[in-house]
């Protein structure tokens, strides 16, 4: 669902769960320079950390909560339809994975940066993301050696 006509200023959806996922997403901000960024977080209170940038919230869920996952997926889909990004960057968890999975249906490219908390193995969301994109980054060289995820650096 890329915007048309194409410009040199890509529109990016930067999306994550709250807490550590969100703090790590904010630490990627220099990479968004030159892009038009729309932020999304499961914690509505996160908005005040990125204002005046556009922001949406969505209900969080994990793999053990099928109904909540469905609500999460619908909310993320609505965010995608409203913001129509050219690319999605997420630091997890479930909502970020769903954004990449749903985005793929519209041809939107997605990158999943796994949390630095996952020092010894990839998160479940990162493993799922690997099934649909090769743009999955780990923050640990040892995890990159053992999985198809790539290591380029870390959030600190």
């Amino acid at each position: 669902m890329p915007t048309s006509p194409k410009t040199h200023r890509p529109k990016v959806l930067a999306i994550s769960s709250g807490g550590g996922h969100w703090i790590q997403l904010l630490r990627l901000r220099p990479a968004f320079e030159g892009a038009e960024v729309h932020f999304a977080c499961s914690d509505p209170g996160a908005a005040e950390m990125v204002g005046p940038a556009p922001f949406s919230s969505f209900p969080d869920a994990n793999k053990d909560q099928p109904l909540k996952l469905l609500f999460c997926a619908f909310a993320v889909l609505r965010i995608l339809l409203r913001t129509r990004p050219d690319a999605i960057v997420t630091t997890g968890a479930a909502g970020g994975y769903l954004a990449i999975a749903l985005g793929r249906l519209f041809g939107i490219r997605g990158m999943f940066v796994d949390s630095i908390a996952n020092a010894h193995e990839l998160s479940i969301s990162a493993r799922l993301a690997l099934r649909i994109t090769d743009k999955v980054l780990t923050q640990w060289p040892g995890v990159a050696d053992a999985t198809p995820a790539a290591f380029h650096g870390r959030v600190l």
């Binding site: 969100w22 996160a46 950390m49 923050q139 790539a150």
Partner: protein, 163 residues
Amino acid sequence: MILATVGTQLPFDRLLRALDAWAARNPDQRVRAQSGNSQEVFKNMDCTAFLSPAAYAGAVEEADIIVSHAGMGSILTAAELGKPIVILPRLAAHGEHRTDHQLATAAEMASLANVTVIESAEELGPALDRLSGAPTLPAAERISASADAGLIGAVAHFLRGAA
């Protein structure tokens, strides 16, 4: 001021009880806690279930020492602001998390200048006694506000492909 934070998911009363006991022994110290989903009542500290991310960052700025589970949000915010942080990892055996991955997180983050990792709740009091009066780290010893150049470059490169 001592500020405790235990994240937003499962309760972590093992840590909060130990801090409340320390607060009872140190009535001259102000102790605040973002206590999350805890159902317990703590008499010796000022508890708020959830602070917004901005209110939390403001509270960290005011605090002298942070007490926390091994959550990356807490660790990164403390490291950015140069605050000493005492970390007790959540354990699945106590029903505090679904996995023991906080043990790995704590072990990996122990090398940061501001981090003290403890292995049991009993170690919290002695760790706080030791850290009392510890200064906020000078700006040069804090972590920067953004990811390293390698990760920023990889994300920026990916986004250039979308332009």
